[in-house]
Subunit: 171 residues, 2 copies
Amino acid sequence: MSDFAVTTETQTKELFIKMVVAAWDASTGQVNKLFDELSDEQLAAECSPGRNTGIYLLGHLAAVTDRMIPLLGFGERLYPQLDQPFLASPDKSGLEMPPVTELKKYWKEVNAKLSAGIAATTPDEWFAKHTAVSAEDFAKEPHRNKLNVLLGRTNHQTSHYGQLLYLKPKS
Amino acid sequence: MSDFAVTTETQTKELFIKMVVAAWDASTGQVNKLFDELSDEQLAAECSPGRNTGIYLLGHLAAVTDRMIPLLGFGERLYPQLDQPFLASPDKSGLEMPPVTELKKYWKEVNAKLSAGIAATTPDEWFAKHTAVSAEDFAKEPHRNKLNVLLGRTNHQTSHYGQLLYLKPKS
């Protein structure tokens, strides 16, 4: 038995994809569990005094995941109306926000659509360019592929997960 | 020009390594910049009332990075004494902590040693097992390689980065 796994290129790709998708799924699962656990009152609170509320971060993460759908070529996004209050504007902008129950529904729907797209993506497609990079730039920067989008968004989501944890009662 | 990058297996590996190392470096760079910016007083504050202080998270992240050195086969770790106060114990355990200036020095040193190890690792070595998995388990679960350690630790570090951001003055 060797310390090195002997692989073909396709197996190597499949292995990377598994690693990155597993990290995304683990992060989304954590966030989802937390959103399910937190009451509407807890979600309305600020993660730290004067900082983002749980509701804002819920809308923000739903918007970011929704935007990944067209970026990865998985079809049309579901809720473009989330961008104005949750991406283009900071929390407490005074803009109208959907009720928490609606936001939780959006969050689950955008994740379900994204997960379906992920499941249907072939190994070669993951290493193809995402839709926001030109063919010319991609030829020079082949790391700007679809898998790298998932990697970057995992880190973004995880940074907010750390903040959302502060909404839980102290143990 | 194609949407697909044509690659050999080695190029595929190199590409993926570049993606994962870049994500780690970006995360470490962000955290490092923040630790440099925050005053000792700011680092002594809690990220949110009743939660971890910046100093605890500095020691915690230094300990986690230090442990990555032997885990990835880069040699002996530098500061095993960090584990008791910053990993095995929660914040405000009453255990003695090194002064902030020392902790900042440890943080930079463990990262320098880790980065040197990363730079010296060949593509095949990244896909070899890390030192905490048996050869037998690795044969069944080849995703438990060194690169996956870096991927997981990036997410861990990023979740604490989100929390540490609350130590900055509100903009």
